[in-house]
Subunit: 143 residues, 4 copies
């Protein structure tokens, strides 16, 4: 299998984790390689809270997907993940044109996987860390 | 101030925490009293993940709002909350017609507030606990 | 099996989770019934931090044991728990003569269990909530 | 102020966070520089749980201190930290001769600081990651 095919396959698995919610949300997979998945989403009114920043639920959801994607890339075919717990630290207002979640695997075992995720906002002036997350998953058979 | 006015006022503050994201999402305030806020949202395709359950980001976002609402009810006028950290345990598939978040205050201090939130799904067959959350907020001046 | 025997058996299982650390620490099981375990420990210099309050590590360790005890009471014989993740909110200085951890089960599944724990300090003047914890465990075969 | 004096000063501040508990425990500061503090503790019976691994409370307490130390190095004189919340993921049995906690600052603001901590066990055969933690602190005036 070529590198290219592999990356495409991984990205597909990641997107398969998402459904209506993320389809609507317009999430892009900007990196998918063994142990790491980066996702991005552009600013849009329905993703913002009352101050005009990306909403906590959007940040949490993107973290969950990026972490789950990263763990999934380390699983054998036919295995998927279900989130056990999600811990997010909000560090700065999520103000920007684009929200990026960079997930990487901390550990994958037979039944439990853990990922850490850094979340950035991007705007003309640069990139800012707005949140970090640690997500714990249970490894299950894919539906 | 009458009980009725007070409850209406509290609910308003809670909804003010939300913006585009929650306006779109159609969140209802079903209870708002000192120390407790209950929110509910009905099933809709754009809130679901690939198995047809409420998405983790939706659960996390609703928990954040219900907990923040509960803490806000204990603050003096002119004070609001910003989320510091969110911890969610996903306990069962969030399968149902309606997702309910019941937030209650654990502690409110001068600079930090903590809420716990129980999340249920409702369907004809009954109600199921699908997640619990603990959310930590910083108390700030309202914008 | 009588209630009394059962409670004694449960307490034994809980104490079996502990080893040198908790033996030294002098932890008492004050309640052990299906789904709930309460533990207590008396103030002693080596359990305190620089301000004379119970140390965060002591609070965390007691929360871990009380939650693990509570989950263990719901398991069939021959099953035990290993901690996956521990989330503690420190709410007030843990100042007092005695530290009490009240663990109760949130959910026990085939592979994962979750407990919530309230931690109090006790002194002549009364009892104060000093921390709450949510602890997630993996269910495994007992050694 | 020379590099050497500065490092010594930082290490002193970190140790000042600890009291009876950590004095007894024999914690060493192996690195203290702006934004990072590494602590280590050697295996001893009273630090172990029933399988002979470092106890969860010991891991949590060391994480708390290493993270708090790291944040403290970024504060102006006269400021200290109090732990708001502690989130630990236990990744592997903490089996070894020595437990090491490597804390680094994620963000320090005027009122809140966040650190991440990697915890390793060391033995003849090498070093293993046994836990990761994210710790959130409130910045306060030093006593």
């Amino acid at each position: 299998m070529s590198q290219g095919e592999s990356a495409a396959h991984l990205a597909e698995r990641v997107l398969a984790l998402a459904g209506g919610a993320t389809g609507v949300a317009g999430i892009e997979v900007t990196l998918a390689e063994p142990g790491r998945v980066h996702l991005a989403i552009s600013r849009r009114d329905d993703l913002l809270q009352f101050r005009g920043y990306f909403h906590g639920g959007v940040i949490s959801g993107l973290a969950d997907l990026a972490g789950g994607g990263a763990v999934t890339t380390m699983l054998p075919p036919g295995r998927a993940v279900v989130t056990i717990s999600l811990h997010v630290n909000f560090l700065a207002p999520a103000k920007g044109e684009r929200l990026v979640a960079q997930g990487s695997v901390v550990k994958v075992g037979a039944t439990v996987g853990v990922a850490s995720v850094d979340l950035f906002t991007q705007e003309a002036a640069g990139e800012h860390l707005c949140a970090t997350a640690t997500v714990t998953y249970r490894v299950v058979g894919a539906a």
